[in-house]
Amino acid sequence: MATATVVAAERTTVRADPGPGIKPKGWIGLLFIAPNLLGVIAFTLIPLISVIVLAFTDWNLVSGLGGIKFNGLDNFIAIARDPGFWSAVGLTLVYVGVSVPLTVMLGLGLGIALNRPLPGRAVLRAIFFLPYIVNIVAIGMTWLMLMNPKAGLVNQVLDVFGLQPGWFASSHWALPALIVMAVWGGVGYCSLIYLSALQDAPRQLYEAADIDGAGVWAKFRVITWPSLLPTTIFLLVTLIIGASQGFGLIALITAGGPGDSTTTISYYMYQTGFQFYRFGYASAIGLVTFVGVLVLTLVTWRAQRGRALHD
């Protein structure tokens, strides 16, 4: 959700200017901001500075506040040599790399399909969006039972094709199961965002293309896709961040298992911090992850430069 803010910031071109004439006194403005600012300092800024400081310490719950020891770059060196960390990075890349493009692609298809006049379009839109607004515990519990390897509904259906994946009970299938859930949960959201972007599609270009006798595919490739590119990048960035930071579903359903087959980087941090109480090391992992995701985001961002359709 955070990236969305930045995306929105880039969109904003209007300057905040109270305009000429009588200007209110400066301290009044500060007074308006004060309640929010004090809360943000207390609950966001101080924790943020702390997590950066903690990343350079060796500290766990047992040693107490007095037991904080600065250890320079030791945590980061340990991370570089930690096979658990690198396994988690790999799994996260697979999870994000498969679920995010799949969600966005299906969302695009659905968005385009829903952009036509259809009977019951509003209902369809609501149905696809529904998984997105339901709490992940209700969703997780439901899918856990749906994907029961022996008698779950999913395998009853797949039995027709002779497939019986072990899902959450299998170290091969647990991550794909999470991916299925992520796609199911995110497609409706993507289609909704695409749908609202399609409303602003350049109509006159389509008309011109029709006159030129362009086919459906040509129109998609030359007009629709480029005009939707900023939306696509926005969705990619938002979903990449969401998918790489969330640990709730994993904590609920698999606890990182079987084995460590679903220990993604965010779950690894959760485990290090809140099950082993190694606060210093967990902070360092969090920081490294954050920087990594930020770089990934910026790369995705840069990729769009100059390719979007400017009208």
Binding site: N135, W143, F247, Y270
Partner: protein, 273 residues
């Protein structure tokens, strides 16, 4: 191409929609079943017999989710109210008032907005323990009342409003508080309701924060309490878990159905969950 609705285009979409709904149908069906029927092969969609007891069990007695429901309401109300009040005031000031260091301060806000909440859980865990707020609902409420994101959304709105209104009112001798509450705040109703909807959904569905900051089951919010229903072997009890899940979805569903257009506008215009 004509703009007339071709009904047959809808067929594949409706099939897909039914597949998307299947987990919810399964949830509702299982919530009304005896546990022995939950994993029947082939799947039994219409419960036989209907096990309404699942709902009475999760709504009454020692296993009731109602206290957790109440805690979730309490947390959501305070979070939403707090966020709306502090965010509208700060957002307005960032957009429509000038003071020293305003733009620098706003840059700091922007920079913090990209910090994922998960990164802040470790220090928050430690602080709330030191402050005696760990394992209390305040650990969930307080950070939610003062958000950078809400402030940002409100600022974006107020920036798009003309400054002339304020100038005219000031000429007439209105003080700043009046300018804000009488002129700009009424204009902001759609944005405020959008932010309110988003804040409510975030708060209602939040699982990760209470997972880390709440340990006593007597202070569980609704999402945490859904994990309480296990049978003698420690297995999830399907009927009760699904009945409780259905109950947990209802408030968000009501908001969604009643305010669908606002809800969707909130999601698409802000692009934020």
């Amino acid at each position: 191409m004509t703009k007339r609705a071709k009904w047959y285009w809808g067929i594949p979409l409706w099939i897909l929609a039914i597949a998307f709904l299947a987990p919810f149908a399964w949830m509702l069906s299982t919530a009304l079943k005896q546990d022995v029927d939950a994993y029947k092969i082939p799947m039994q969609w219409i419960p036989d017999p209907f096990q309404w007891d699942n709902f009475s069990t999760v709504l009454s007695g020692a296993t009731s989710v109602l206290p957790a429901f109440g805690r979730s309401v309490f947390v959501a109300v305070l979070r939403v109210a707090g966020e709306l009040i502090t965010a509208t005031m700060a957002g307005y000031a960032f957009a429509r008032m000038s003071f020293k260091g305003r733009d620098k301060l706003f840059l700091v806000y922007l920079a913090t907005a990209i910090i994922p909440a998960q990164l802040l859980l470790v220090p928050r865990f430690i602080y709330f323990q030191k402050l005696g707020l760990y394992d209390t609902l305040w650990a969930l409420i307080l950070p939610g009342m003062f958000t950078v994101l809400g402030t940002f959304l409100m600022r974006q709105f107020f920036v798009s409003q003309p400054a002339e209104f304020a100038e005219a009112a000031r000429m007439d001798g209105a003080n700043e508080w009046r300018v804000f509450t009488r002129i700009y705040l009424p204009l902001a109703t759609p944005v405020i309701s959008a932010l309110g909807i988003l804040a409510f959904v975030w708060s209602w569905n939040d699982y990760e924060t209470p997972l880390v900051l709440i340990s006593n089951p007597e202070r569980y919010t609704l999402p945490l309490s859904l994990t309480n229903f296990v049978d003698e072997q420690g297995q999830i009890a399907p009927g009760l878990t699904m009945a409780a899940s259905v109950i947990s979805i209802v408030p968000v569903l009501i908001v969604f159905v009643v305010l669908q257009r606002r809800f969707i506008a909130a999601m698409t215009h802000t692009g934020i969950k």
